[in-house]
C-alpha cells in the first residue's frame, strides 16, 4: 500500500533530515515508527504523504509509492485522495471557522455531490462524537477534541492510508486511549496506518503491530551530578485562588500548600485549568485570592521561573549559548557548563536554537529559565512533550537535583510515568477541583480518584507499576 525505497532527505540549510530508509506499510495493521528526538520521524512522515518533495525544497533520494502512485510524479491532490495525514499539533491544522466546516473542507476538495458530502459529514460527526459541537470554533476545543476533529476531517474522506505524526503527544491518557481504539478500528477495516510516536507504550501489545525503530544520531548523554548551593526552606501558600477566563470560572477557591525541596506533579484532563494554575503562580494570570511564599523572614512574593509548552515563544538568539546567557549581568559560567551538559545540549552550544528539534528546543527553554536561578523554583508546563525516553530520564534527574537543592518544582503533565517520579501528585477533577493530593504512589494507587477525574490509568501503566513493585 505504502512503500518507501531507500529514501533520504536533506533540508537545504539545516544540513540534516532523514538518513536512507526503506519501509513497507501493509493494510490491516498498524505500523509504528519510533526513534530518538531529531532522528527524522516527521521528515519521513512528510515523505510518505508526498508533502516532501511537493511542498519542501531539499535533496531527496529514493522513491515512495502510495497505492501505485510514485509520490513525486503525481500532484498532491491525487495523493491526498489516497492518504490522509494528521499532524502533531491539532490546533495548528484547523483552518475553518466551525467544526462542521473543518470536515466539509476536505470533502469539497474530493468533488463529491452535495448529498454525499452531507452523509459523510453527519457520519463523521456521529462517529467522532462531535455532533453537539458542530457549530463551535475549532480553536475553542480542548486538545483531545481538536485531535478527534483532525482525525474526523481526514477519515471522512475515506483514505486508504493514514499517516499520523505524534498524535498522542498532547493528549491525556483517556483521550490517547480513545484515539488508539479509533485507529485500531481503522486498521482492522483493511486500511494502512503508519504512526510516528514517542509514547509507544499505548500501542505495545496490540495485535498486528509492526514496530520500526529509527536509528538516531543521539549519543548517550551522561548526567553529571552537581552540588547546587542549598536554598533557604520556604512554603508556598495558595489561598482561595480563583481564576475566571471569559465567562468560565476555571479555578474556584483553590487552597494548597507546597513545601520547598519537592517535585509536585499536577495531573488532570485537557482543559481543566492546569496551565492557568501555573500562570497564576508565575504572576502572569489575573486572579483572586493570595499566592505567597512564607520564609523564616516572613512573606515574599513568589519568584518562579516558568518553562512554557511552546519553546518557540522565547527563542530569538543566534546560538544556544547566547540564548541561555541573554541579559544575565554576571552569569555563573560553571553553572552554565553543568546545565548545558545536564540538558544534553553541549554539542549544540553554537547552533541557532531555532534549528533544533522540538524536544531540543524545549530543553533550551528550560535551560534559559534555570540560568536565571529563580529564587523559589521552577514551573514546567508539560515538560516531557516531544522528549524521547533518554531525555525524559535526564529531565527527571535534573528536576531531582534542583529539588534536592531546596527548590520547589511544580509541573503539569499528562505523562503518568513522569508524574510517578514526583514526590507529590495533585489530581484535578473535570471542574478544576482537587480530587486527590498526596504522595505520588498513594495517589496513583487510588483508583476511585482517577475514575472521578475522568483519567484512565492505561493497562501498560498499571502493568509497569506492578512489575516495578
Amino acid at each position: 500500500m505504502l512503500r518507501a525505497n531507500q529514501i533520504s532527505f536533506r533540508y537545504p540549510q539545516e544540513g540534516h533530515g532523514l538518513s536512507p530508509i526503506s519501509l513497507n506499510v501493509e493494510r490491516g495493521r498498524i505500523t509504528l515508527v519510533t526513534g530518538p528526538s531529531g532522528c527524522g520521524k516527521s521528515t519521513l512522515a512528510r515523505c510518505l504523504m508526498g508533502l516532501i518533495p511537493h511542498l519542501y525544497n531539499g535533496e531527496m533520494t529514493g522513491e515512495v509509492w502510495l497505492n501505485g502512485y510514485r509520490t513525486d510524479e503525481v500532484p498532491m491532490w491525487q495523493l491526498a485522495e489516497k492518504a490522509g495525514m494528521v499532524f502533531q499539533n491539532p490546533a495548528a491544522q484547523m483552518l475553518a471557522p466551525t467544526v462542521e466546516d473543518e470536515i466539509i473542507f476536505g470533502l469539497e476538495n474530493l468533488g463529491w455531490a452535495h448529498d454525499e458530502i452531507t452523509i459523510r459529514l453527519e457520519t463523521a460527526l456521529t462517529d467522532f462524537n462531535l455532533a453537539h459541537m458542530r457549530h463551535r470554533n475549532p480553536q475553542t476545543l480542548s486538545g483531545g477534541e481538536q485531535q478527534r476533529l483532525a482525525l474526523a476531517a481526514i477519515l471522512a474522506r475515506q483514505p486508504d492510508a493514514l499517516i499520523l505524526d505524534e498524535p498522542l503527544s498532547m493528549l491525556d491518557t483517556t483521550a490517547a486511549t480513545e484515539l488508539i481504539a479509533y485507529l485500531q478500528k481503522f486498521a482492522v477495516s483493511g486500511k494502512a496506518l503508519v504512526m510516528f510516536e514517542h509514547r509507544h507504550e499505548y500501542l505495545d501489545g496490540l495485535p498486528e503491530l509492526h514496530h520500526i525503530a529509527l536509528d538516531g544520531k543521539e549519543r548517550e548523554t551522561e548526567f553529571l551530578s552537581a552540588n547546587l548551593s542549598a536554598r533557604e526552606r520556604f512554603k508556598l501558600n495558595i489561598d482561595q485562588l480563583q481564576v475566571q477566563l471569559g465567562k468560565r470560572e476555571v479555578i474556584q477557591n483553590l487552597d494548597l500548600e507546597m513545601n520547598s525541596g519537592q517535585i509536585v506533579a499536577i495531573v488532570g484532563r485537557n482543559g481543566v485549568g492546569k496551565t492557568t494554575l501555573l500562570r497564576s503562580l508565575a504572576g502572569l494570570q489575573k486572579h483572586d485570592g493570595k499566592v505567597t511564599v512564607n520564609t523564616a523572614h516572613g512573606n515574599e512574593t513568589p519568584n518562579f521561573g516558568i518553562a512554557f509548552q511552546n519553546p518557540d515563544l522565547q527563542m530569538f538568539n543566534a546560538s544556544v549559548r547566547d540564548e541561555m546567557l541573554y541579559r544575565l549581568p554576571n552569569p555563573d559560567l560553571n553553572y552554565f557548563r553543568w546545565l548545558i551538559s545536564a540538558l544534553g545540549l553541549e554539542r549544540y552550544e553554537n547552533t541557532p536554537p531555532l534549528l533544533l528539534s522540538e524536544g531540543e528546543k524545549k530543553r533550551v527553554a528550560l535551560g534559559l529559565v534555570l540560568m536565571r536561578q529563580p529564587a523559589h523554583g521552577l514551573l514546567l508546563d508539560e515538560p516531557s512533550l516531544g522528549q524521547d525516553q533518554l531525555h525524559k530520564t535526564i529531565l527527571i534527574r535534573l528536576l531531582r537535583t534542583l529539588a534536592d537543592a531546596g527548590q520547589l518544582v511544580i509541573m503539569t503533565t499528562h505523562d503518568l510515568t513522569l508524574a510517578s517520579h514526583a514526590d507529590r501528585l495533585i489530581l484535578l477533577g473535570p471542574g478544576g477541583e482537587v480530587i486527590a493530593d498526596g504522595l505520588s504512589d498513594a495517589v496513583l494507587n487510588d483508583s476511585s480518584a482517577w475514575q472521578k477525574s475522568g483519567i484512565l490509568l492505561p493497562d501498560w501503566f498499571l502493568r509497569g507499576r506492578m512489575e516495578s513493585q
Binding site: 491532490w77 499532524f87 475553518a96 466546516d101 466539509i104 474522506r157 504572576g283 515563544l313 541573554y326
Partner: protein, 241 residues
C-alpha cells in the same frame, strides 16, 4: 510585570441574533463599500448619515460590538482630534474622527455578522479565484490568533527578563533593538502557523481541480431591501454635491 486577562481573545464574536447574520455576505460587502464611500462626503452629510447609521446598527443589534470596537481606538481618536484641532481646525478634527469611527464601525458590522467561510464564499462568487479567496478568509481568521500569540510571547519574554523596556518614547527609541526578542518569536510562530495550515490544506486536497462548494449563497428579500435602501441613501447623499 503586566498581568493579562488571558482567555479573553480580542477577536470579534459573531452576533448570532443580528438580522444581518442572515443577510448574504455580498450584501454586507456592498454595505461596507457604501459606508467607505460615504466617508468622503462633507461633515453635514456625514452627520446625517451617522444618524441613519446608528438607527441601522440599533435595528441590527450591533451597537454594542461596534462601540466596543471603536472604544479600542479611543487613544488614537483623542490624539487625532486634538492634533487636527490644534494644527488645522475644529471642523476638520470632527470630520477626520467621524470618518475613522465610520470605517472602524463598518469593519465591526461586517465581521460581527459574517464568518470567514462566508467571506471566502462571497469573494469566490465575486469571481475572486478560490486560492486567493481562501487565503484572504484564512488571514482574517488568523487575526485573533495572532493577537493571542503576541500576548503569550510578551508573557514568555517578560518571565525571563527579555521584554524590551518601552515604557516611554525615549526608552522605546533607545531600546528599539531589543524588540528582536518579540519580533523573532512572532515571525517564527506566524510562519509556522502558516506552514502548518498549508500542509494541512494540501494533505486534504486543497489543490484539487475537482473541488465543489458545499455551501451556496442566495439573495433574499432582506438583501434586496438592504441594497435598494443603501443605494437610495447614497443617491440622496451625493445628489448635487
Amino acid at each position: 510585570m503586566r498581568v493579562s486577562p488571558a482567555g479573553r481573545s480580542r477577536q470579534l464574536a459573531l452576533v448570532e441574533d443580528s438580522p444581518l447574520r442572515h443577510a448574504d455576505p455580498r450584501t454586507k460587502l456592498f454595505l461596507s463599500l457604501a459606508v467607505s464611500l460615504v466617508v468622503m462626503t462633507s461633515i453635514e452629510r456625514l452627520l446625517i448619515f451617522l444618524a441613519v447609521y446608528v438607527l441601522f446598527l440599533l435595528w441590527a443589534r450591533l451597537i454594542i460590538p461596534t462601540v466596543e470596537h471603536i472604544w479600542r481606538l479611543k487613544w488614537v481618536l483623542i490624539l487625532l482630534f486634538f492634533f487636527d484641532w490644534w494644527l488645522i481646525s475644529l471642523d476638520h478634527a470632527i470630520l477626520i474622527c467621524l470618518r475613522l469611527i465610520l470605517l472602524t464601525g463598518v469593519f465591526a458590522l461586517f465581521f460581527s455578522t459574517t464568518n470567514t467561510r462566508e467571506l471566502g464564499l462571497a469573494l469566490e462568487k465575486l469571481r475572486v479565484p478560490y486560492r486567493y479567496a481562501f487565503s484572504l478568509s484564512l488571514a482574517f481568521q488568523s487575526l485573533g490568533l495572532l493577537d493571542d500569540e503576541w500576548r503569550t510571547i510578551r508573557e514568555a519574554q517578560s518571565s525571563r527578563g527579555a521584554l524590551p523596556n518601552v515604557s516611554s518614547f525615549w526608552k522605546f527609541i533607545t531600546n528599539v533593538g531589543d524588540l528582536i526578542s518579540l519580533t523573532v518569536p512572532a515571525i517564527v510562530l506566524t510562519t509556522k502557523r502558516a506552514w502548518a495550515i498549508t500542509e494541512a490544506s494540501y494533505a486534504r486536497g486543497f489543490d484539487s481541480p475537482h473541488r465543489v462548494s458545499y455551501h451556496s449563497l442566495s439573495f433574499t428579500r432582506l438583501d434586496t431591501l438592504l441594497v435598494t435602501g443603501t443605494m437610495i441613501l447614497l443617491i440622496l447623499l451625493f445628489w448635487r454635491r
